[in-house]
Symmetry: C2
Subunit: 138 residues, 2 copies
Amino acid sequence: MNIGDVSTRSGLPAKTIRYYEDIGLIKPHRSNNGYRCFVEADLHKLAFLGRARALGFTIEECRLLMALYEDESRASGDVKQLALEHLRKIEAKIADLQAMRETLTELVQCCAGDSRPDCPILKDLAGQTELPKQGVKA
Amino acid sequence: MNIGDVSTRSGLPAKTIRYYEDIGLIKPHRSNNGYRCFVEADLHKLAFLGRARALGFTIEECRLLMALYEDESRASGDVKQLALEHLRKIEAKIADLQAMRETLTELVQCCAGDSRPDCPILKDLAGQTELPKQGVKA
DNA sequence: CTTGACCTTCCCTTGACTGGAAGCCCCATG
DNA sequence: CATGGGGCTTCCAGTCAAGGGAAGGTCAAG
C-alpha cells in the first residue's frame, strides 16, 4: 500500500502520516523506488492513533497507549489511569470554557447591538464593569 | 513605569507585554536608557487585553475589540456580533469536549483497572469495540 | 567597586500539524 | 519516444500565543 491508499483507508491526511513516521509512531517499510510501503499492521496502528487523537489524547499519550497496546503483559490499571488523567484535563477545559460562555452570554445579553456606540461588552473589557458578578480569570 | 511594574499591575508576564508590543497591540514610549516607559493608558490597554484573552478571544479579535473600543463612533452591534461569533466557537468546543468526555467516561467505566492485561479502552482504540455506541469522530 | 535586580534584544522551542516548492517515479496516451 | 498528469519524495516555513534562556546593558544600594 502506498501512502495515498493508507490515507484514504485511515482517514488521516498523508501529511499527518508522514509526520507520525517522523516522530516515530509508525515505521513503514520502503519500496525500491523510495515510496513508503504500508502493511495492514501499519494501517491498524494509524487507525488506533486516529481514534486516540479524536478522543483528545496528546501525541505523547498516544505513544504510551500504543506501547501499552503492544505490551501483552500490561496492566489495564495503567491504561485506565492514563484515561482518567486525560478525562480530568478534559473536564477542566470544559469548566474553563463554560465559565467563558457564561460571562460572554451575560455580556451579549446586556448589549443592545444596535448602531449606537454605547456597549457594555467593551465597558466590561475596559474594567468599567456594570455587571456586579464579572471578575477577571487569569 | 517600567515593564516590571506594569507586569505586576496588569497580571501579564513581561514576556507577554513585550510580545504585545511586537505585534503592535501597544506602543509604549522609551526612556533614554532604552527601557520601555509605560503610562496609565498602556496599563489600561493591557488590562483590556488580559480580560479579552481570558474570555478566549484570539489576538486578532482582541485587536478588533481594541479598535472598536477606541472608535468613539462604533456601533455596539459590531461588538455584539464579534462576541456572538466567539460565543458560537466556544459552544462548539464545549460540545466537542463533552462528546470526548462521554466516550471516555464510558470506556473508563468498562475497564477493570487492575493488573490484568484485558482492557476495553485499548480494544476500543484498536477498533475492536465492545461498546455498541462508540464511533470515531474525525 | 561590586553585587544583584532589572532591563534589553535575539533566537529557539512548544504541539500537531499544514502548505508549498522542487524534484523523482510511473503509467498512459499521442 | 515524448509528454503529461498524478502520486510520491524531501525539506523548509508557517501557524498561535507565547515561554525559555543567553548575552549583555543599566541602575540603586551597600
